[in-house]
Subunit: 136 residues, 2 copies
């Protein structure tokens, strides 16, 4: 699981460089990465452009279906309400995330989804702390 989270973290670092909250997400099916994305909300100026949403969109395009029930989503931060809703809409059955999001995290709302957390927690936390300390 660390292997995939480190790739999601690479995506988060791209967001960091662009000036977006550093969150990255990837989607894995049959041990193959089928989608990678990073948060582009500020860069694209589009409210829905969180890493998870963009990764789900890419995976749907790649597989030519909205039905991602045999996919695992890796994200460097606990998903917000919008992204949790998208996980349910796409029928993703398992998610792995790195750091909790005490303010906006909504993973408790996910029904029938396996959740693994705290994977590569220190790395993700460090990147987020660095980002927010630069802002303030």
């Amino acid at each position: 699981m660390d292997k995939y989270m480190l790739i999601a973290l690479k995506e988060a670092k791209i967001a960091y460089i662009k000036g977006d909250v550093p969150v990255g997400a990837i989607i894995v099916k049959d041990n193959k990465i089928i989608a990678k994305a990073h948060n582009c909300k500020e860069t694209n100026k589009i409210a829905t452009n969180h890493a998870e949403i963009l990764a789900i969109n890419k995976a749907c395009r790649k597989l030519k279906t909205w039905y991602l029930d045999d996919c695992v989503l890796y994200t460097t931060m606990e998903p917000c309400m919008m992204c949790c809703g998208a996980i349910m809409q796409s029928r993703i059955k398992k998610i792995v995330y790195s750091v909790e999001n005490p303010k906006y995290g909504c993973s408790s709302l996910l029904k029938s989804v396996d959740i693994v957390n705290n994977v590569c927690k220190n790395e993700s936390e460090l990147l987020l702390k660095k980002f927010f300390s630069n802002i303030r």
Copy 2:
């Protein structure tokens, strides 16, 4: 409000014709429609392509900002968790919807958002019933 909801209903009818669950959404700013969209989940085979998400994306592109706090979203059905999350992400302060969605509606999760419901309820309900009776 009926005037705008009837335009959202026109969008819902486009979704109906395409074979998608008939939901339409529009976004209004300063009494001007800045975005119109309909549910394209089945047509586009993309899990996130609900009417509300697509309308928010269009409005952000049009206004060149993710910040839609002076916009009103009209939708023919109570938004799901994903769309409620997108409403919060885009800082929309007011939504108007037509029919409740007892199974997937999540408007109760919206914080600091004015909610008006039951606008043109009969028309939206009829369209949805027609759609689901055709499927079964």
